[in-house]
């Protein structure tokens, strides 16, 4: 079963085509990581998965149905997205931010149910932001803020979570913290995680499956071990490297040389 499938998908901004006639599927219950060079269209593809971008041609299926035909609130109950560097409303506390994730379940009458309360507390607890709950989001450090945003997407209680570069601006320790959290969510709650990462080594370690976005399409797709080769890195990133097995995790480890140097 696939969480997301695209059929004949073409995405473009004004006149420039970003993704051209793509057929791809993302399996349920796995961690899928999108990699690719700057401007390759990873984020654009991710946006179309979350219905933030209307395809010029073709369709995106979310849980087997055309995402464009689903109601906005329905999509929000099936898939949560964390965009790159989001901005929180002025003065809002962490708990209030996380509570916004319950929006698709609320109505004018029902603005705060028992379930809303329970889901928000759970999201705060499992992202370790419970003790930050009453602090304003503006006052948090980068890592804390990112965890607060992840908590908001978790409060949405969706099966699929899409994240655009969730580790940007974080130091290595905080990057690991976020990735561990996401993997835990995947393993404990069978959530489908789809994200863009820039660090190839971390991508290989945490991904069940990698999608390489290159030249307006998915250039390669599969288990990291099978697809991350020196040739692929050369083609996609125009970078010479050596790939060795990671001595601790046995996933591919990429050692970059630079464009000119080969040894």
């Amino acid at each position: 079963m696939n969480a997301i499938t695209s059929q004949d998908l073409t995405l473009s901004y004004q006149d420039s085509v970003i993704i051209d006639q793509l057929d791809v599927s993302v399996p349920k219950g796995k961690v899928t990581v999108l990699i690719g060079g700057n401007g390759s269209g990873k984020s654009t593809l991710l946006k179309s998965f979350a219905r933030l971008l209307k395809p010029q041609q073709g369709i995106v299926l979310l849980n087997g149905a055309d995402i464009q035909r689903k109601a906005t609130a329905t999509v929000a109950r099936e898939l949560a997205i964390l965009p790159q560097t989001p901005v929180a409303p002025e003065g809002i506390s962490v708990r209030q931010l996380v509570a916004l994730g319950r929006y698709p379940y609320q109505s004018w009458l029902q603005q705060w149910s028992d379930e809303d309360e329970a889901m928000v507390n759970r999201a705060l607890a499992c992202t370790g932001t419970l003790e930050l709950a009453d602090r304003p989001v503006d006052a948090l450090s980068g890592g804390q803020r990112q965890r607060a945003w992840i908590a908001m997407t978790l409060a949405q209680g969706t099966e699929t979570v899409v994240l655009d570069e969730p580790t940007t601006f974080l130091d290595l320790a905080h990057q690991m913290e976020v990735l561990e959290l996401l993997r835990e969510l995947n393993q404990k709650e069978q959530k489908t995680i789809i994200m863009v990462l820039h660090d190839l080594n971390l991508a290989c370690r945490y991904a069940d499956q990698i999608l390489v976005v290159h030249e307006q399409t998915v250039y390669a797709q599969g288990v990291p071990k099978d697809i991350l080769t020196e040739d692929l890195v050369k083609t996609v990133f125009d970078l010479n490297c050596r790939i060795i097995p990671d001595p601790f995790f046995d996933t591919p480890l990429c050692i970059p040389f630079g464009r000119e140097r080969t040894e």
């Binding site: 946006k47 964390l82 965009p83 409303p89 809002i92 209030q96 929006y103 603005q111 705060w112 009453d134």
Partner: protein, 343 residues
């Protein structure tokens, strides 16, 4: 930070903050005090007890006329105008995410001003002043609609709204000045009072019409209240949690323009309230639209009320436009709050 009270009754559920409720109650008490003061003071000075007696009795002559026909409608109108502009400004500041936004930004004041001066220059001789509010309202609505349409580019982004708004407002200000320069002196004078913002000579009939126009907008506000905070997220996370951003933004803009347009139509260029009152309110209550909106309304109402009270009592026998004192009162208080917060 105090706990929120969660209130559930059948299918209804709400989160209520006790601190916000407490402060709103204080602001309401203060408002009632100022209303009493406003009814008591003027050329004829009365005690609050006399005012209560007068309001309770059914007589109509003398002081009864002064309190019930002159001071009461004017007091109510001042409060309503301030409250409407304040809520309008609060909504607008949240949409464009710019603390400097006021209803002026969407061309409400400039559109209403241009239309009002146009009306005063060409129609007031034949039609009198009866249709002036409607002309001003039409002007405000047209200017706002033009700005919204011109700013549209695959959706209306806050930044484009601000830029187009500034441009159109400048253009309309030029039209207003042009009309003023080529009008006879009598028109210029009445236009000038209107532009400064005044509730002078408000009658019961005008106050009733204004209340009706505002009353019909309340359901829209109540409906949109819970949506204001979600649209303060960026567009993508807002859409991600299931908000139809463009519809919501259009609805909120409409509410903001309708509120400000109505207020400006009856009281003229007093829109500075819409900039300052929401800021003061946001310092007094915690984030959350319903609480902020109620506090903004109370602060805005109070500001215009006090401004008008000063304008009509301190400089007797002159009766100065309230607009002058709104800025004179609001700015120092706002600066005081900012400085207090710094320490």
């Amino acid at each position: 930070m105090p706990e929120e009270i969660i209130w559930r009754w059948g299918p209804l559920s709400r989160r209520i903050n006790p601190v916000t409720g407490y402060r709103l109650a204080w602001a309401t008490v203060l408002t009632l005090c100022v209303v009493m003061t406003s009814l008591s003071l003027g050329k004829v000075i009365l005690t609050p007890w006399q005012v209560l007696d007068i309001l309770a009795s059914a007589e109509t002559g003398g002081v009864h006329f002064i309190v019930e026909q002159l001071r009461l409608p004017r007091t109510l109108m001042a409060w309503l105008v301030g409250a409407a502009l304040a809520i309008s400004g609060l909504i607008l500041q949240s949409i464009v995410r710019n603390p400097l936004a006021s209803p002026d930004l969407l061309g409400v004041t400039s559109g209403a001003s241009a239309a009002a001066v146009f009306y005063l220059a060409f129609f007031s001789m034949t039609l009198g002043h009866t249709w002036l509010p409607l002309a001003a309202m039409a002007g405000a609505g047209l200017a706002a609609a033009a700005i919204y349409l011109l700013a549209w580019q695959e959706g209306a982004s806050p930044l484009r709204l601000v830029l187009v708004g500034v441009g159109i407002s400048a253009l309309l200000a030029a039209v207003t000045t042009f009309l003023l320069v080529f009008s006879p002196l009598s028109t210029t004078l009445s236009a000038y009072v209107w532009l400064a913002g005044s509730v002078y000579g408000a009658t019961w009939q005008e106050t009733q019409t204004l209340s009706l126009w505002l009353l019909v907008q309340i359901p829209l506000l109540v409906f949109l209240a819970r949506q204001v905070v979600v649209q303060q997220l960026d567009d993508s996370p807002a859409q991600g949690i299931g908000v139809r951003v463009q519809w919501l933004r259009a609805g909120l803009l409409f509410a903001s323009v309708a509120l400000a347009g109505t207020a400006v139509a009856w009281a003229g260029g007093i829109a500075f309230v819409g900039l300052i009152a929401p800021h003061i309110a946001k310092k007094l209550v915690l984030p959350g639209f319903a609480g902020q909106a109620m506090m903004s309304a109370l602060v805005g109402g109070l500001l215009v009320l006090i401004a008008d009270l000063i304008g009509r009592t301190l400089f007797l026998p002159a009766d100065l436009p309230a607009g002058i004192f709104v800025a004179a009162l609001g700015t120092p208080f706002f600066l005081y709050l900012l400085i207090k917060q710094r320490h």
